[in-house]
Symmetry: C2
Subunit: 207 residues, 2 copies
């Protein structure tokens, strides 16, 4: 008999889903979206092919469910007591994910697929929308504490932390070290304090 | 007889290269990297297949040359007299490129290919390195004018302008409007002024 807590809750259906999504993530990280195949995923997951086809239907359906699971499994936001501390935790988490061989390859594969597949793009956008919402309270609390000006666009501050890391990862290829993550948090904090993310920028010029 | 200036300089070789790279860009934008084929590019360009194979050899070789040409053809940096003005010009140029249907699809296709193809990734990184170097003097002049602290990492400031635009384009899917470009320039300026991009950040803490 297994120890309580040693398996995911939800019984067989949840265990099948976990095994299939794990296998789908492995296949994506190893071979990319173009080679993703439900029969191969079923074999890797040691789950019946019929189950996989019936439950997920298509590779885009499977990737969409994988992204839902990734959003659900992602770490909750930080609560360090300062905006820069919270944003640094966020930046380090994003950096660690992108720099991790499996996770980085997985994100690369999904982002690549999203450039040409509308349903994958929609699922990807939902993933980031959820992750951004998770971290928004860090910015809202900073506004409440008086660390940031009223009217600051909290979502845009959270996006600003991830952006330099994704730019290096996908475009420029510059190193993704921890100093880069910390600088992303510092820059987003400084820009937010200066009012660069106030929503109606016309109404409140900064200097 | 053609008017002076109505054709690209360099004669037939340059005209063949221009036609082939134009056709390669069209094919990439329409069908993506996986379907790029030298025979199809030769047909689109109305150039002999043998010429294309002899000169470019492989699709990765062709994409690398396309990126070299894109860097050469890109607009020079702005000279508005202020850092935020220069960075706004840069942000608007990047935004216009990514939001353009053909150019956006072309960049998406190349970035997608670079996630799994090392030679394409290297060519892409060279492209961004050149574009960043082109705009670096805008930041260096701002340091000379006393707009920014000594020791500011000029390349990192330029990267910070593009990053939020690429993040929206490739990851979050949020709108790529001109207000977003202007905010990217404003945020990079504010963060740079606050010292967030000073190279040896340990030595010079900011507040």
């Amino acid at each position: 008999m297994e120890e309580p807590g040693s398996i995911r809750p939800g019984g067989r259906t949840a265990r099948v889903r976990a095994a299939v999504l794990r296998a789908a993530g492995d296949a994506l990280a190893e071979r990319g979206f173009a080679h993703l195949d439900l029969t191969d995923v079923a074999r890797r997951a040691e789950v019946g092919k019929t189950t996989v086809y019936r439950r997920w239907g298509t590779v885009t359906g499977l990737v969409a469910d994988l992204l839902t699971d990734m959003a659900e499994q992602s770490l909750p936001r930080a609560r360090t007591g300062s905006l820069e501390g919270d944003l640094r935790a966020n930046a380090r988490l994003v950096r660690k994910t992108l720099a991790d061989p499996r996770q980085g390859a997985l994100f690369g594969a999904i982002i690549a697929a999203a450039t040409s597949d509308t349903r994958t793009a929609e699922a990807l956008h939902r993933f980031y929308a959820r992750r951004i919402r998770e971290w928004v309270p860090c910015v809202e609390e900073a506004i409440d504490r008086g660390e940031l000006p009223e009217g600051t666009d909290a979502e845009e501050v959270v996006r600003a932390v991830s952006a330099p890391l994704y730019y290096r990862f996908l475009a420029s290829g510059d190193p993704l070290d921890e100093a880069t993550a910390d600088r992303a948090a510092k820059a987003a904090t400084a820009a937010a304090r200066a009012g660069a993310y106030i929503k109606d920028e016309q109404a409140r010029p900064i200097l």
